[in-house]
Amino acid sequence: MGKVMLEVKNLKTKYVTRFHEDVFAVDGVSLKIEEGRSLGIAGESGCGKSTLALSLMGYYFAPLHYLSGDIIVDGVNIAGMKPDEVRRKVLGQEIAYIPQAAMNALNPTMKINDFVNDVMYAHGSKMKKSEIREMAEARFNELGLPPEVLDKHAVELSGGMKQRTVIAISTILSPKVLIADEPSSALDVSSQKLVIRMMRQLMQKGYIKSMIFITHELPLLYNVTDDIAVMYAGQFVEQGTANEMVFDPVHPYAKGLMGSILVPEAGTREVKLTAIPGTPPNLKHPPEGCRFADRCPYAVPTCRSLAPEMKTFSGNREYRCLFSVKKLREVYSDGTGRRSGEKPAGIDELIADQ
């Protein structure tokens, strides 16, 4: 087992609205990422993915509030730290964060090179400007960005180029964890592909030691991250490798999500898309029992009163449902299940292992 870069234990955070109502957007999330690995987080909008991303940085400001739980980055718990300390010691060098609209956050009147200097000096770098420049050029080169970009203003760059530049600058201190929240969703497919390629290079070249990648686009996650967690109503409902999650989901919600995947590939046209009726619950008043029960085609009365815990199965996989894995697989095999294409090799043994 590799060194654990990020471990989160039962994290709970909430928003307090203008009307003093609580929104429990992250309600007991646990996860663990080892060095060199990446975790994808999927789920419909409103399930708390972006709030989790914000919460993981340990940097809280209104309306977001920390409630309880641990965020351990390479052995250090940052959950109780003061915002000022988090800003100085954690952001940028331990954890880097890229929000969806990151590219729009670049001040148009500054040169890209100035941003690099800012980041370095804000973190107490003693390097000379010329040394920083040299380092930045080398890093840009390694990531497939032309170093001339350093002399440009943000307005001179295309959307995709801006986003890749932001990613290169945000990770220039080689953080232990990169958290990317829909970093490519606003781009067209060709720019998206370049962003994804850069994320992969960052991991392969060791410029980031682990990554959390958030998107509702499952084919993208499948290609980018080693593991996938599916989030629903502020909690994870299933976790496993990307392969297990896409081809052998167990939780009915994960199953529904995988059934909504559209890819331009042979065999997918003939299988009917599955839609999950309804919408996620309001997180001001999360349901008492299973949070998915209202939309779950297999729910029984107990589901509405008894909240399931995360349970481990098949080695490292986890799911949150009152039904056994065996029972769920039985239910799926009678035709109500996923849009099945060819299964990747090895998945059958995985299932047999259980």
């Binding site: 909008s45 686009e217 499952l218 909504s260 331009p264 997918t268 046209r269 898309l273 839609a275 309804g278």
Partner: protein, 246 residues
């Protein structure tokens, strides 16, 4: 500048066709021409076998009963000062139910809402901006349900939403198509969507169709470099996605 350059195509009743291209390929210009929102400088549009005539205001209104858009951004397509009832009432008026009884109108609006899993009673007196993105999108389909156009132009109806709500909306559109035999034109950059939903696919680059045909032919066996690139740009799950192929 020519945004759309000599394109030929025809759509049949009940058919679903997709026009696929990147932003800037001319898709949206083409959809506006079909809707009669911008003029065609050269060439002819035929509707139900006759040259389309939208030369007068009245003729235009008549044409718009038959062709209806669903736009990219649901928030942009509603007048934010109109309550939701009036959005739906407008549809009934357009279809000539202006003089129907109030109860009759409410019945029809209730039916339309329940078709898209919305509760009419919960929507009355609300403004569009009080709805979530998903509810807005479903409200747009409820409008289509009331208008029952011959042609529905869906200009990236699913770009802003997650795969899950996309599946729900596609389900509803297909159901509506089956019931009313309307023709659906998808204007999209989503090649996975086009592959799944269409009877016929047109690939558009720089205002021209570079390739068209059955989805299995165009998307599984593309002949044009542009089509190949569009396909290679999107992530796959059964075949490896080659990130280095540009």
């Amino acid at each position: 500048m020519t945004a759309v350059d000599h394109v030929d195509f025809d759509f049949n009743e009940g058919e679903i066709v997709s026009i696929v291209g990147e932003s800037g390929s001319g898709k949206t210009t083409l959809s506006k021409m079909l809707l009669g929102l911008i003029s065609v400088t050269d060439g002819q549009l035929y509707f139900q076998g006759k040259p389309r005539d939208i030369s007068s205001r009245r003729k235009k209104q008549e044409y718009w009963k038959n062709i209806q858009p669903i736009f990219q951004d649901p928030f942009a397509s509603y007048n934010i000062f109109h309550k939701i009832d009036s959005v739906l009432l407008d549809c009934l008026n357009m279809r000539g139910f202006r003089s129907a009884s109030n109860a009759q109108k409410v019945d029809m609006m209730t039916e339309a809402c329940s078709f898209v899993n919305l509760k009419y009673a919960e929507l009355t007196n609300k403004y569009p901006f009080e709805l979530s993105g998903g509810q807005m999108q479903r409200l747009m389909i409820a409008r289509i349900f009331l208008l029952k156009p011959k042609i529905l132009m869906a200009d990236e109806p699913t770009s802003m939403i997650d795969a899950c709500s996309r599946a729900t909306i596609l389900d509803m559109l297909l159901k509506l198509r089956d019931e009313t035999k309307m023709t659906v034109i998808f204007i999209t950059h989503d090649i996975g969507l086009a592959y799944y939903i269409s009877d016929k696919v047109y690939i558009m680059e720089h205002g021209k169709f570079v390739e068209s045909g059955k989805p299995d032919d165009v998307i599984l066996r593309p002949t044009q470099d542009y089509t190949k690139r569009l396909i290679s740009d999107v992530p796959k799950i059964y075949e490896p996605w080659d990130l280095d192929a540009i």
